[in-house]
Amino acid sequence: MPIVLNGTDGITQADQFNSDSTFGFKNRIINGAMMIDQRNAGASITNDTTNTQFPVDRFGIWGQVASKYTAQQNAGSVTPPAGFTNYLGITSSSAYTPLGANDLYMVAQQIEGFNTADLNWGTANAKTVTLSFWVRSSGLTYPATFGGSLQNSAVNRSYPFAYTISAANTWEQKSITIPGDISGTWVGATNGIGIRVWFALGVGTNYSGTAGAVAGWAGADYRSVTSATNVLATNGATLYITGVQLEVGSTATSFDYRPYTTELQLCQRYFQTYGYGIGSPNEVPLGTGYYFTSVEAIVLAYFSVTMRTKPTYSSATVTNGYRYSRPGASTTINSLPYYGTSSQSIAFFGDINVPVAGSAGNAVVIIAEQPGARVNFSAEL
């Protein structure tokens, strides 16, 4: 471990900057160890076709036809790779073959521009990055080639990549080094999509291209490599993944383990949930406010973390799930109406036209009182 001290460079420690203990926050992927699952608390979800779904935080799933696969944190309960406690498991729900030319069944994380702008992609100074991850598969013929890609926000710059899983039921670490794209338009330091990182489950020919390692960056919308394995072609086939890391440089270094609280807060920029059973005691106050007429109250709640943008709000419907408590009385309702605007840091709840009458000037607190009562805020990319 040569350490050099001189009057020109100060202290230099050559050869050590890729060791296991250096460079925290090098990973541009959030929740790469699949620890955080605010939405499902580890429960399985089945793909649908309506909106992007998130089996764990920050990793979305897509598909053209519903119910072709399930996705779940720690699906199948196998032992994760050493150093990890969680993984994202995909399980095929049918023998879906052949794929349509436009089929797109995928897992992906969209990285925010603020977290990729320093890569200088789209310029002559574009930095090389390395994507690494652990994968495990079953139910297919091995060795098998799988695919994925990196893309820009406009999905017109693509770097398809291939990786091979050698054997069934075995965790294998993969590493793909990607030269920075010196062309195309890449979102800079904004809250838009900086880089899309796709892992293909089954991608049709119209969205499959020659691997970037062979053909370089393509000015096309490629989500995978040509002839990649269709995980969904075999009922019960699996693809498990964890330890996803995207870092500057041409070498995959040790995984960037961040404190749980830090990882959770990073996730909460994109999704937050509050409600019964999240924390202790089970009954959780959601916000406080006041009646400004006898039938209208405004209640404020501040987010744990400033969100990426004004979030989409939803409230679970639970019989008597939420209690409006005011001086001398209280009332329960089944869902929380949302009539105000939101901001990146504040949510407004109203109770107009619901039977929770008070008196102007009364203070009021909303409590998530029954199992399942929760409010969600999504500012996903």
Partner: protein, 53 residues
Amino acid sequence: MYKLMRNIYGGASNVVTRTTDGACIPFDPDNTDYQAYLKWVAEGNTPLPADTP
């Protein structure tokens, strides 16, 4: 399908409800759900009107 939400402060709606799941989507160009709503409108669809006071 979407339904405009009444603005309690008066004026035009600035939130739309996604009827499939009841999600309330603010009119924020950076919100991806709002972007999906705009695409839906651009395809020739029209949201349900907001409730009246």
